[in-house]
């Protein structure tokens, strides 16, 4: 087995830094190639890597109080003076950029979600040359890092063109009130100590220079005739605004009526509301998967089991976790036809490492679900800063978005999109499979609106060194 060279890999690829609650996302333009390269060179010593964290005298791991990682867009590589011949070795979708009409069509970024409406990465896509991801243990630490970074911008003719902050919410919830960030692929040579029984995924799905799920080395960019990709990867940025009031009001308005026997007939409207929201998500707000607790949340299931399941044998018809639900689309596991073996093989070839944090203040206390009836929007911008790490944007992030999230016929369904993040316009529906007969939620709305995006190359530490000394 080819062990990952962790010290050469940017830290965010290896760890989610779950203890760092405060994020800062900075978007930069290099006004001058030489200044830009100088800036990259200055940044290299500050960049957190995937190397194991040190231990103190008692053998206890010393967790870092912050981390900094960077990514470069296709425009950034040009602005730094990378020769065209080298830029041409980067993948087609990366070179087009997330806002290109071809990518828009593939991602379903149309209508309200169109890049023309974005705060960053849309109309100003060509100005977004780099992204800095900062995670800090406290707001004070974040501010301190920010001041230091700004000094570096001024010194190297780098302009800060946009910034977002993100902060972890209580209990790791996102703004709809659900526990977030649970399901992450586990790498084959993962050095994490968890004992989950999930199958592992080949490193080459997330890091260039290693074999992927096809047993192949991923396509890798070149500089001066030599590989530039190894230990690097690609990062997708999406700023996702969440309309929390619209989501919960839609749910409350669509809870089913039921008479006679059956579990639904015994539930209060509040219970039904949370149940229906969980059906759309595929998990309970607590994070417990529906396949383990189909009707009511079950707090007795330990958290280390929440990802320890497959769909095919446990829930073949989607009675518990609907085929069209958000989590079954984002990772169908062994669910897709024709067989569980084939289904798992396909699913494992389109996974993402997800990093990111919520932004904005919650609309309501997220531990009190459901929120009050007819809750009104307060006009505050809130949502999720979504970062996805993958070795092949086209085969992973874009595939998930096009063939799973936005595909109205996903998994043999008729007319459904992802009920949480799909770009719905009132014409799609959601089937709640059940025995003896399914129920249907009609006229799904869009609850998440894209407000920004970008495709970034996340070079290895050594590749950053070569980029800093180009030309």
């Amino acid at each position: 087995m080819n062990e990952l060279h962790n010290a050469d890999i940017q830290g965010l690829v290896i760890s989610g830094y779950g203890h760092l609650y405060h994020g800062h996302y900075l978007f930069l333009r290099f006004n001058d190639a030489e200044g830009g390269r100088k800036w990259v060179a200055d940044m290299i010593p500050q960049i957190a890597t995937g190397a194991r964290w040190p231990k103190d005298d008692q053998g206890k791991t010393i967790k870092p109080d912050h981390m900094i990682n960077i990514g470069l867009s296709c425009y950034g590589l040009g602005a730094l003076g990378m020769p065209e011949a080298s830029q041409a070795t980067f993948p087609h979708e990366f070179r087009q950029g997330i806002a290109h009409p071809d990518r828009q069509r593939i991602l379903g970024d149309t209508g309200e979600n169109a890049p023309v409406n974005w705060e960053v990465g849309g109309d100003n896509a060509a100005d977004v040359h780099a992204i800095i991801v900062v995670l800090a243990v406290s707001e004070a630490k974040r501010t301190q890092i920010y001041e230091g970074l700004k000094a570096g911008f001024a010194a190297n003719d780098v302009t800060l063109i946009h910034e977002d902050v993100g902060d972890k919410l209580a209990d790791s919830r996102e703004h709809f009130g659900f526990f977030d960030g649970l399901s992450q692929p586990r790498l084959t040579t993962s050095n994490r100590d968890d004992k989950q029984a999930e199958p592992t995924i080949a490193e080459g799905e997330f890091v260039l220079g290693y074999k992927n799920e096809y047993g192949q080395l991923p396509f890798s960019p070149m500089l001066d005739g030599q590989d530039l990709g190894k230990n690097g990867t690609y990062m997708v940025f999406r700023k996702m605004h969440q309309d929390v009031a619209a989501f919960w009001n839609f749910i409350a308005a669509n809870i089913p009526e039921a008479e006679g026997e059956g579990e639904l007939a015994t539930m209060t409207d509040d219970e039904k509301t949370v149940w229906l929201a969980a059906k759309l998500m595929g998990r309970w707000p607590s994070g417990v998967p529906l396949v383990m607790a189909p009707w009511r949340d079950n707090a007795s299931i330990p958290q280390d089991q929440w990802n320890n399941f497959m769909f095919h044998d446990r829930d073949p018809y989607g009675d518990q976790c609907p085929f069209g639900s958000h989590v079954r689309r984002m990772n169908p596991r062994d669910s897709l036809p024709p067989t569980k073996e084939e289904g798992l093989k396909t699913a494992d070839r389109h996974l993402l490492i997800r990093r990111g944090l919520p932004y904005g203040a919650p609309l309501f206390p997220l531990d009190q679900l459901p929120p009050p009836a007819d809750i009104a929007d307060d006009g505050v911008d809130r949502g999720l800063i979504f970062l996805a790490i993958n070795a092949n944007i086209s085969r992973q992030f874009e595939f998930v978005q096009q063939s799973w999230v936005e595909n109205t016929h996903f998994h043999g369904l008729y007319n459904e999109k992802d009920p949480i993040i799909g770009n719905a316009n009132g014409t799609t529906e959601m089937t709640l499979a059940a025995s003896p007969v399914r129920r249907t939620v009609k006229k799904l709305q869009r609850f998440v609106t894209i407000k920004g995006g970008g495709y970034f190359f996340m070079p290895s530490i050594s590749a950053l060194g070569r980029i800093a000394t180009m030309g």
Binding site: H92, P101, D102, R105, I106, Y214, G215, Q216, P218, F219, P256, E257, A258, E259, G260, E261, G262, L264, A265, P316, Y317, G318, F323, P337, P338, T339, E342, K345, T346, R349, H350, N392, S394, R395, E398, F399, Q402, S403, N407, T408, H409, H411, G412, L413, Y414, T431, A433, A434, S435, P436, V437, R438, R439, T440, K442
Partner: protein
């Protein structure tokens, strides 16, 4: 039974640009799902899928050939007569750009129909392998099944029905689906919907569905017999016939590596279905060609005898696909009408049928050494050999093979005892085959 028509006709000198503009307009109109004023394809009841694509000559930079393909129901004469009757003017405009097209339509329609049939036959090419996602379903039956499934779905979404369905149906699962549908007639809203919508849809259903032969002890011997028959036809009969009659002449197609950006991707993902037209070179040498012919006979017959219910090698998204060896064995033409995105379609091939892909396309120069498993190289070689399909038409654009097969089952098992599985089918999901 559906058929595959493949036509390649030479474009008259100087007519290429005019034809391109015309086909682009038709393509745009079909994309927007508007009826083209010159070409009411939606009215052609024998046409399931159709496409026109221009084959360029890379050396001269001009359009050399017009390629047309259709998947049609019934006889070829009836199919072409429909075009002549319903879109005659468009036929004149399109095929009039090609050499040898009869120009007597407005003067003598009866004679024209004969001449048109003869023109198409002269320029048509026999396929080497043909895959059908749903054998025996005509456009008419597909539309009837889709409509019936919609009606049943709406019925169970009626608020009065949805409210009581779970409690009632539990006790009725031994009844037939037809009886289950009628069992809600005590509810006025259900009764009215049943009378106004369900009953008429039910009455229009065909009596009994024709299904592919089930697999049994005869399947393998039939496969072998068929193989021998086709082998003789492809290896001996067709070349002889072509020699004598002059059919399927040399085309001198001259393609080169095309650009991935060359207007191929921007016409994708407009409807649920997509298409590919791939023309790949066949490496010189009789052995390569012979092997390819045998492999394609094998694929054709596996599809016919073993994999004839909506799935080819586990891939359940293909409505129709065909492989046609053209230009005296110099090129392999592949066309497919499939569900969903191009990356998921190609990914399916690699996940489920990589070996099959390798068997066929090792005949192409620069096919990846490690075969389809080298997915990025495989995707690249496909895009490089894919040509733009200027006009693509699907008669039922927003449904899938899985949906259609499911609709068919829902529509043809109403009198089967027991309704648990039938009710299951209403949710979709592609789980019950």
């Amino acid at each position: 039974m559906q058929h595959a028509l493949t036509v390649i006709a030479k474009i008259k000198p100087g007519k290429g640009e005019e034809l391109e503009a015309l086909l682009n307009t038709i393509g745009q109109d079909v994309k927007g799902k508007r009826e083209n004023s010159h070409l009411e394809l939606g009215e052609i009841e024998t046409l399931q899928f159709g496409r026109w694509a221009l084959i360029p000559n890379k050396r001269t930079g001009t359009w050399q050939y017009l390629f047309f393909s259709s998947n049609y129901d019934g006889s070829l004469a009836d199919h072409l007569n429909e075009f002549a009757d319903k879109s005659g003017e468009a036929m004149d405009k399109i095929w009039g750009c090609c050499e040898g097209y009869p120009e007597n339509r407005t003067r003598n329609l009866a004679q024209y129909k004969k001449d048109f049939l003869s023109f198409i036959k002269t320029h048509s090419i026999d396929y080497n392998a043909f895959y059908i996602g749903y054998r025996y379903e005509t456009l008419r039956s597909k539309r009837i099944f889709m409509d019936f499934r919609d009606a049943v779905s709406d019925f169970f979404n009626l608020p009065d029905v949805a409210k009581v369905a779970e409690g009632r149906l539990k006790h009725h699962l031994d009844r037939t689906p037809a009886e289950v549908l009628a069992s809600f007639n005590d509810l006025p809203a259900a009764k009215q919907f049943y009378d106004d919508r369900l009953k008429p849809a039910m009455d229009s259903l065909p009596g009994k569905a024709r299904r592919p032969r089930p697999r049994d002890f005869l399947t393998f011997p039939l496969f072998i017999l068929d193989f021998i028959r086709l082998f003789i036809e492809v290896i001996i009969y067709r070349p002889l016939r072509n020699q004598i009659t002059g059919r399927e002449p040399a085309l001198n197609i001259d393609l080169d590596d095309l650009n991935i950006n060359d207007g191929i991707t921007d016409i994708e993902d407009v409807i649920t279905q997509n298409q590919v037209t791939i023309i790949s070179a066949i490496k010189p040498g009789w052995w390569t060609l012979f092997k390819l012919r045998v492999v394609l006979i094998g694929i054709h017959l596996v599809a016919k005898h073993f994999q004839n219910r909506g799935s080819l090698g586990g891939i359940a998204t293909i409505h129709f696909a065909r492989w046609v060896i053209i230009d005296k064995g110099r090129w392999l033409l592949f066309t497919s009408n499939y569900d969903g995105s191009w990356p998921s379609y190609i990914g399916d091939f690699v996940d489920k049928a990589a070996k099959g892909m390798d068997f066929i396309w090792t005949s192409a120069p620069r096919y990846p050494e490690q075969g389809a498993q080298d997915i990025e190289a495989f995707k690249n070689i496909i895009r490089v050999n894919q040509i733009r399909t200027q006009a693509f038409y699907s008669s039922v654009p927003d449904t899938t093979v899985m949906n259609l097969l499911n609709d068919g089952e829902i529509s043809t098992t109403l009198d089967k005892a027991g309704s648990a599985e039938w009710l299951r089918r209403l949710q979709g999901g592609g789980i019950i085959r």
